[in-house]
Symmetry: C2
Subunit: 159 residues, 2 copies
């Protein structure tokens, strides 16, 4: 009955995001879109995914407002797929995944595709989680307010 594992109804934004993206293919399609891919064939060759899967994923991404379909720039009768503003807002997600991967799955000298600052040609700064007033935050410096407990009653959990 459930089309796939669905998290949509959760009150957690992470769950809804995950649900909206759909699957890993979709995320890699978005990555490719950030990397400049626009055409069906570009995605297909880059990902090596079956064409029917790609078709389905593109459709879902478009329906989800992450990609937009525009007429091909070369005048052909085909489409191009471009990121919507909502899609572009996934930039930090992709960058975060990229940096995590760079840090943990490549040898120091192992070559890998690299996201660079176009202007200076240099790699990006590592993402930093910060408080509203600008302090760097580690995971332990944060807490999650569940929705059923709108605020911590005063004094955190009786640890």
């Amino acid at each position: 009955m459930v089309r796939r594992t669905r998290f949509n109804d959760s009150d957690c934004p992470v769950a809804r995001s995950v649900d909206a993206i759909g699957d890993w293919w979709s995320l890699l399609i978005v990555r490719d879109a950030f990397d400049g891919s626009r055409r069906f064939g570009e995605f297909q060759r880059s990902l090596g995914v079956a064409k029917n899967i790609l078709t389905a994923r593109l459709r879902v991404l478009v329906a989800g407002g992450i990609l937009d379909v525009v007429p091909a720039a070369d005048g052909s009768s085909y489409h191009e797929y471009v990121l919507t503003p909502k899609g572009k807002d996934l930039f930090p997600v992709i960058v975060a995944l990229r940096q995590w991967g760079e840090g943990h799955f490549f040898e120091p000298d192992e070559p890998h595709s690299e996201l660079i600052d176009r202007r200076r040609g240099r790699p990006l700064r590592a993402l930093e989680v910060r408080s509203a007033d600008g302090r760097r935050l580690d995971p332990d410096d944060t807490v999650v307010n569940k929705v059923d407990q709108p605020r911590t009653p005063a004094g955190t959990r009786p640890e």
Copy 2:
């Protein structure tokens, strides 16, 4: 032959990250770990996932060095699952997904679980992608160097 869709051999850090995480359940387990869950039952109730799936995912996360198994703090004979440093490095990924979800899948007044700065009790600052020298970067301000083209030959692609 392929156990699941695998992206492991890619030279793209995003693909390797995605592959290492495994699936959405795993990511939500990590989210819960950041939120303070440690016990099997906590994850299970929070996620509503089948126990065999949870068992399998926990195992993979431990094998992948994202979670660690430690003896239960309450002296029982069970385990607790805690984030390794590598797991904690996923913090920006979770935060990025959270913020994307907050921005696009909730009405302005719709309640949702919220990650807050423990010290001030306030929501976090939005993640910002920055260059090495600190400039804010939009997607269009960046380029990806594929590994087969170690550097852009001088003058970007003939656009």
